[in-house]
């Protein structure tokens, strides 16, 4: 069984998935960040591979990606960094990046490297489900790499069912129709959306992402699903306090 699925089987609530950008703030921070997050007790770690044209990301992550690229990060290097600590990592790792990066790397080669690095899953926001199904499903499944798809408030019920069927690991539930909006409280509209999805009784567990930035919003999300993803808020914290601040950041979310 894929480690991510295992996680969701073992832990039914308050799963914390932290996203960070590889090579940011400094080129060599990747490994430290993973190990610090693991030490702080997060459940899942999502390593963003910086891209020149990150369509689906908000400005915080865009900026961190540009810095990381400027620092000299590459997919190759990010994977090397992860591989270098793979024996120390027990938390399931997910790689997030854009389809073109992996396409140029070579999809087969990419999956081989994921396996070699001990990575459990991927998020490729611009790889459509149909295309995945016809081109890559077998490749990923046979290598036991979970592919996690997204749903949004606009995703139709039919399509959600399809996502449910195709996603391994978890469904990335985009909390709202805004990637660039500032962190804000969760609105009634969003709550209705969360409830609507809960009532669908899907097979795949869900994590809520986008706009989750503190204990309050994390707790709120956890009322509806098994956990949540924090990205931009973590990047901003990292920028201000560096790797040393990670423990405190996570503590505050969990309120340990």
């Amino acid at each position: 069984m894929n480690p991510i699925s295992q996680l969701f089987k073992n832990k039914k609530e308050r799963i914390l998935n932290i996203y960070f950008t590889a090579g940011y703030p400094n080129l060599d921070d990747t490994t430290d960040i993973i190990l610090s997050l693991q030490k702080a007790g997060v459940d899942l770690i999502e390593v963003g591979i910086p891209y020149s044209d990150p369509l689906a990301d908000g400005t915080t992550i865009q900026d961190s990606s540009q810095t990381a690229l400027h620092n000299g990060i590459s997919l190759q290097l990010a994977l090397d960094q992860i591989e270098s600590i793979k024996d120390q990592v027990t938390v399931p790792l997910i790689v997030m990046g854009y389809y073109n990066q992996f396409l140029q790397f070579g999809m087969e080669q990419f999956v081989q490297r994921l396996v070699a690095c001990g990575i459990s899953g991927v998020i490729i926001p611009d790889l459509p489900m149909d295309y995945y199904e016809s081109h890559y499903k077998e490749l990923f499944q046979s290598n036991n790499i979970a592919v996690n798809f997204l749903i949004t408030p606009e995703t139709s019920p039919l399509r959600i069912q399809k996502v449910d069927q195709l996603s391994e690991g978890f469904i990335y539930m985009v909390s709202r129709s805004s990637i660039t909006g500032a962190a804000s409280d969760i609105s009634d509209e969003q709550k209705q959306y969360f409830e609507r999805i809960s009532n669908m009784h899907l097979n795949t567990p869900r994590l809520i992402g986008f706009g989750i930035h503190d204990k309050t919003s994390f707790d709120m999300a956890c009322q509806y699903v098994q956990g949540a993803i924090i990205g931009s808020a973590f990047i901003r914290y990292l920028k201000e306090y560096g790797v040393e601040g990670i423990g405190e950041f996570v503590d505050r979310i969990f309120d340990n």
């Binding site: 926001p125 790889l127 606009e154």
Partner: protein
Amino acid sequence: MTNYKINKQGFYGKFGGAFIPEMLHANISNLQNQYLKIMEDPDFQRQFKKLLRDYVGRPTPLYFAERLSAHYNTQIYLKREDLCHTGAHKINNTIGQIILAQKLGKSRIIAETGAGQHGVATATVCALMGIECIIYMGEKDIERQAPNVSRMKMLGAEVRPAKSGSKTLKDATNEAIRDWIDNPVDTHYIIGSVVGPHPYPDMVARFQSVISEEIRYQLIDKTGKAYPDHIIACVGGGSNAAGAIYHYIEEKNCNIILCEAAGKGIDTDHSAATSILGSQGIIHGSLTILMQDQEGQITEPYSISAGLDYPGIGPLHAALIDGQRAEVHSVTDDEALKAGYQLSKLEGIIPALETAHAFAVLDKRSFDKDETVVINLSGRGDKDLKTYIAHL
């Protein structure tokens, strides 16, 4: 030749598709399902054709360029898209999309622009329909295409600078897509070329296909032949070229010549010659040819002409080039400027810098004396006067 026909999934052979994040899925799939139905509706067609005629000024003439023909010892006809309202072919598409947006019930329009022609054409149709309009434009392009920025403002549009990356067309497109992700319900995104996720390449090509529809009957009228021996167009994203060749793709005897911007030269790192410097990959939701490094990071292109300063080309063109159905030339800044000066002095027509790239082909290969050559004069050069004069 069936490879050049789009399939249900939006592919021309292996190129095309819709590689988009889930946040865009509802909008894009709605468009995919609706666009042909709406476009083929007689009511839509009536409205579209009427505006093309009375507002845009179609049909645009097919003009036999006597002095240019004599100079190059061949028979050159110019398709006068420069005479369209707002000065370029771009408005054929924005007229179509604004009507479509209305039928889709959208109340807010966004668009990207490079040269500003598409921005102006979008701002124009939004004014015409009384719809809110936001135009994303690279900070660098805002500087070099100042007249068009003023026009957009006059037309009541908001121009938002794209400050990331190369600060040009690619980045303006990224920003527009982000805006759309943020505003999935009320907003329609009017893409300005045959790029982006399916159905944009096909939809825009269909709106622009009025160009070759007209060339066809105008050419019969003038020469008795329905197709030219050569048809020449510049390629930024590829919409004017797509329009000009649309009805000729399956006509094997009609040679298609596409002109890319080589910038300072294909062996410098200041170029936008996608077909030579590019390789297969994804840009703005489409699998096509684009300029990228080994890691798949998209390269910052360069061209003197803001409308060709784009690292990709539309998937149809990728297919045409890949299948060797089209002949491609790369044209440097200097060659384009020279061609622009020459057309001005020989025919009294100042072409857009983008368009000037198409004319530069005349110095790159020869044509027979009695061959019919149609060049798509995609736009006028008013917006480029500063650049032209600076290099005179």
